[in-house]
């Protein structure tokens, strides 16, 4: 295991160096697996097989256990996400206020189902189960920004604007 945080990571991928830092801060405790996977997803964007194997070895956990946790929880993604994202809340209050029409319109417009990413990797559409901002229903999160009182037209425009926003390719985070 690498010990010197200054030396380049043996894999040649510095992101694993960041992950090592997280593992050290968690004292390699097995019960911190979920926290560590959160951090790994933050660093890599998603949880690839390689990342899961790496975490399993570092925590001395069976690979099946790490895979099981990564696939059980909704917020962990096993696939790369699009450069831009829109997550439409489909909690009760948003449902009552017509969130499904927004989801349908965006599905139609981009030719994907909720939970999918467009083929060019530009846009991911997803749904969320209540963001706890029901006073603003219906609510969507577009590129990390919470937008309330949405209607179909506004949601379409906001997503289109987000996609148009960067002529510069988005940096890989």
């Amino acid at each position: 295991m690498p010990t010197d945080p200054q030396s380049p990571h043996p894999s040649g991928d510095e992101r694993f160096g960041l992950l090592d830092g997280t593992l050290r801060r968690a004292r390699h405790e097995q019960d911190q697996l979920i926290e560590i996977l959160h951090a790994a997803q933050e660093i890599f964007g998603y949880l690839s097989d390689d990342v899961l194997l790496y975490v399993a070895r570092a925590l001395r956990l069976p690979r099946a256990r790490v895979y099981g946790v990564a696939t059980f929880y909704h917020l962990f993604s096993r696939e790369p996400l699009g450069e831009h994202s829109c997550s439409v809340c489909t909690g009760t209050a948003c449902f009552v206020k017509g969130a499904d029409a927004i989801v349908e319109a965006l599905q139609r417009e981009y030719g994907i189902l909720a939970g999918q990413t467009t083929e060019d990797g530009r846009f991911t559409l997803s749904t969320a189960r209540c963001l706890g901002s029901c006073g603003l229903a219906p609510v969507g999160v577009i590129d990390g920004e919470v937008r309330g009182h949405l209607d179909v037209e506004e949601a379409r425009q906001l997503v289109a604007a987000a996609l148009e926003h960067d002529d510069v390719p988005a940096e890989v985070s």
């Binding site: 979920i34 059980f72 209050a93 009552v96 706890g132 029901c134």
Partner: protein, 550 residues
């Protein structure tokens, strides 16, 4: 080791500092107001005021009226506080210049009347300081009497006396079933183990509920204080705050609050020099509704898949890592400091005969005003919906109020005068649940509502037991047929029989209560189901199961 905080001293200094301000603007920076633009409002106010000795700008938690955010409350010496609503950049400039600057109310910004029932009918115990203090400052909470209850418990009461006080207060769990808190505390106090644990359940997954989120992001120290008192009373030395990942602001503020409390020696080794130690840590979920169930929650804290296990053994016997563990909902714990500070008799005097205290409700759906309220138990639904939330918008008619989320049920208009407490809601086939209250008007189809909740439970079923994993899938298929207008009477009969099986045979609360929305909508709105059915001998227009991808 740093010395412990002198609570009286800090409270005194803080109050003196506040008294120097002639005017203060309290800017809500909770989740909903931030989404509505509160950050810009705060920046603007700060820019207009600049460095000013007599005017303070305080970022606060949630005052509750989320539908009219961003909210700015202005308090001035010798004046009733003014609540400005829908404040935008121009509004913030006007408030800063006029009201904060020279004391004349900003005329062009909307305000609420001083006696608005949304506020005046509330009785705030859990939310006493939410929306009034900066959640990121320990001193603010201490100035409002925070941590005094912990000090009282540690210095003047034995652990057994604290348990007794909670028992006598009649506090019941706010997360769902309403189990008496004192009994749970007593069980953990008597249990023996190497390490005992106390856990705050902040995995508020019910769609339409955001009470716990608000308590955590608006007054994090109150939860920490409640949990620490629980630890002292029961002999627990380690605690966890389990929060769903969908609440990033709550997580951030709780973590900051824990660090501040540790520095002040309100947590950690020898809390307030009492010799009692309590260590507390936040654990973040990763998107699984089932983790609100206590055995699944414990599995998740241990870093495993959130699969529930059979009870008994109950967590107080065998919990985290096999040790005695007590799990309480966030709101339940937030009641504890007030009970210790003001006495169990005071608390028992609030609410009804069997449901003591207050309840926080998250109002959502077809209402003129939505947001968070805290009311005494026993208030009627009519008072909440029509007096406090201003009724139904756009001239629509009240059809039903859904309480308790996917485990709860719908209450129709004819029961609007029912008192809201544990027993009455249960009699109506609903439940207190955690306190989400979603109002539906006459445009909403009730079979659709049932289908919505069953889809939720189907997606969130952990898959461990067949009745829930397969049952919710099949329930959804029947509801799909009915809602799409191709269901036949036998589909409805099958649905009802299946619901009874799922309720009786599922392993945990998620499956056992998944049929509740179907039962309750059938009981009160059966006609709507019957209207959608086609006769047995009529050939349906579509044979395939609707909703499945072609």
């Amino acid at each position: 080791m740093a010395s412990a905080i002198d609570l009286d001293d800090v409270a005194h200094t803080e109050r003196e500092a506040r008294a120097r301000y002639v005017r203060r603007a309290l800017v809500c920076t909770s989740t909903a107001c931030l989404a509505a633009g509160a950050a810009v409002v705060r920046e603007r106010l700060t820019a207009v005021i600049g460095e000013h000795d007599e005017v303070g700008i305080v970022p606060t938690g949630c005052p509750g009226l989320c539908s009219r955010g961003p909210l700015v409350q202005v308090e001035a010496r010798g004046e009733e506080p003014t609540v400005y609503t829908h404040v935008d950049e121009a509004g913030a400039t006007a408030i800063g210049r006029d009201h904060l600057g020279d004391g004349t109310p900003a005329s062009d910004v909307a305000t609420v009347p001083a006696d608005l029932p949304f506020f005046s009918r509330q009785q705030r115990v859990v939310l006493a300081t939410a929306g009034r203090i900066d959640p990121d400052r320990l001193e603010d909470y201490v100035a409002e009497g925070g941590y005094a209850a912990l000090a009282t418990a540690l210095t003047t009461m034995t652990p057994a006396e604290v348990v007794d006080a909670i028992t006598r207060s009649g506090l019941r769990g706010r997360g769902g079933a309403g189990y008496p808190a004192g009994r749970k505390w007593g069980m953990l106090a008597e249990a023996t183990g190497d390490t005992k644990y106390v856990v705050a359940n902040g995995d508020e997954g019910d769609p339409g509920a955001y009470m716990d989120r608000t308590i955590m992001d608006s007054d994090p120290h109150r939860v920490i204080e409640g949990l620490t008192i629980a630890a002292y009373a029961t002999g627990a030395t380690k605690g966890y705050l389990y929060v769903r990942a969908e609440y990033p602001l709550a997580i951030e503020r709780l973590e900051r609050a824990i660090r501040a409390a540790k520095r002040a020696r309100l947590l950690g080794r020898s809390v307030l020099d009492s010799g009692v130690s309590f260590d507390l840590e936040v654990r973040v979920g990763a998107g699984a509704f089932v983790c609100g169930e206590e055995t699944a929650l414990m599995a998740s804290i241990e870093g495993r898949r959130g699969l529930p296990t059979l009870r008994p053994p109950y967590p107080t016997e065998r919990g985290l890592w096999g040790q005695p563990t007590m799990i309480h909902n966030v709101e339940t714990l937030a009641n504890v400091p007030a009970i210790i500070a003001r006495g169990p008799e005071w608390f028992a005097g609030l609410g009804t005969e069997t449901s003591h205290g207050t309840k926080v409700f998250a109002l959502a759906g077809s209402l003129n005003d939505t947001g968070l309220i805290e009311v005494p138990m026993g208030i009627t639904l009519r008072e909440i919906v029509f007096d406090m939330a201003g009724g139904i918008p756009e001239g629509r008619r009240f059809k039903a109020a859904q309480t308790g989320g996917p485990s709860g049920g719908c209450i129709p208009a004819r029961f609007l005068d029912t008192p809201v407490d544990y027993e009455h809601l249960q009699d109506l086939g609903s439940m207190m649940g955690s306190g989400g209250l979603v109002v539906m008007d006459d445009t909403v189809s009730m079979p659709e509502v049932a289908r919505f909740y069953v889809a939720f439970c189907r997606d969130e079923s952990c898959g461990k037991c067949a009745p829930c994993r397969v049952g919710t899938e099949k329930m959804h298929a029947f509801l799909d047929r009915i809602c799409e207008g191709v269901g036949r009477p036998r589909d409805l009969a099958h649905l009802e029989s299946l619901c009874r099986t799922v309720r009786a045979t599922s392993l945990c609360g998620l499956g056992q209560s998944a049929p509740n929305p179907v039962f309750s909508t059938l009981e009160h709105f059966r006609d709507e189901y019957l209207d959608l059915l086609v006769e047995e001998d009529v050939e349906p227009t579509r044979e395939e199961v609707p909703g499945e991808p072609a």
